[in-house]
């Protein structure tokens, strides 16, 4: 892409002035020293305990995730086995007719209401449900 340069000439005084103001230090000695300083700081980081920690972070995260997954699967299987056992127990128990299980309660309820309506107590034999029915 062609760019329109407002300072078209490289000899432009402003560009030259800018280059002079922003000139990087000349001489290899400076750059060698800067490199040495950078590498000294890098060496400090390399020897730091946090690098070792950082190295272990990923495996630790993977291990934790694997453990969580394994625990989740184990819990799921245990729950499944529990519900299977419950179903099996229910199926294995002798069946009870529904009427046998419910009627006494209903009868009992009806007797209580009748006793209440006739103002009878349990102690009076004439007020029993059987007597009323007769």
């Amino acid at each position: 892409m062609t760019e329109i340069r407002l300072f078209p000439n490289d000899d432009d005084e402003v560009v030259r002035g800018l280059r002079s103001l922003y000139a990087a230090p000349a001489g290899d000695a400076y750059w060698n020293e800067l490199e040495a300083r950078i590498m000294a700081r890098v060496a400090d980081v390399e020897l730091g305990w946090w690098t070792e920690l950082d190295r272990w972070v990923r495996p630790a995260v993977v291990a934790a995730a694997t453990l969580l997954l394994a625990a989740g699967i184990a819990m799921f299987r245990a729950r499944e086995a529990e519900s299977d056992l419950a179903v099996e127990t229910m199926l294995a128990s002798p069946s009870v007719p529904v009427s046998t299980a419910i009627r006494p309660a209903l009868d009992n309820d009806r007797d209580t209401r009748i006793r209440y309506l006739f103002g009878c107590s349990d102690q009076e034999p004439t007020c029993s449900g059987q007597n009323n029915r007769r």
Partner: protein, 184 residues
């Protein structure tokens, strides 16, 4: 050991070696890029000393983040983005710290005695009138030769914004230095 073709360091091989923990390979990457890296930082910060600090911080950051870098990408672009971020961070920190004592002029670290004093003085003064971003864009483009796209990527702004910043910066400098330039 890192192999070299024609005596020229293979940047990708150096990056891969550095990622494996070869500190000599990282030192070679520093050697390859430190001048350009300094230029990027110097365009953003106000002083040579700050540029030095930013370069060191950024190389350190790059070293720590090296394992996340994909070697097939251009290393330079990645590194200069880190340089620009470190410089912008430094500028932000300085702005907070020196809020009450903003410098009147940009310090001149390397002075060429042959240069016109008047132009330098006026240019220095004019640069302080630009915004920090405009100043960075004009230096990165006109002095360092980065493209609008590269500058946008480095400074985290759209390419069009870099282009418009450059246009405004040049117009402002031309306006402020018009009389000086005609005197030269």
């Amino acid at each position: 050991m890192t192999s070299f073709a024609d005596g020229k360091p293979d940047e990708r091989a150096l990056v891969v070696a550095a990622q494996r923990g070869d500190s000599e390979a990282f030192a070679q990457l520093v050697r390859l890029h430190q001048r350009r890296a300094y230029a990027v930082c110097r365009a953003i910060v106000l002083t040579h000393e700050d540029a030095e600090d930013a370069v060191q911080e950024a190389f350190l950051h790059a070293f720590k983040a090296l394992d996340r870098f994909l070697p097939d990408q251009p290393f330079g672009a990645w590194l200069y983005r880190i340089m620009a971020n470190a410089s912008l961070d430094l500028v932000r920190r300085r702005k907070v710290r020196d809020a009450d004592e903003l410098p009147e002029t940009i310090p001149m670290a390397f002075r060429d005695p042959g240069e016109s004093d008047e132009l330098r003085r006026r240019l220095n003064e004019a640069l302080t009138k630009l915004t920090a971003r405009q100043r960075s864009v004009i230096v990165l483009h006109d002095v360092e030769g980065f493209t609008h796209g590269e500058i946008g990527e480095m400074l985290g702004i759209p390419e069009g914004t870099a282009r418009s910043d450059l246009h405004h910066a040049r117009a402002a400098l031309r306006r402020m230095l018009k009389d000086v330039r005609s005197d030269l």
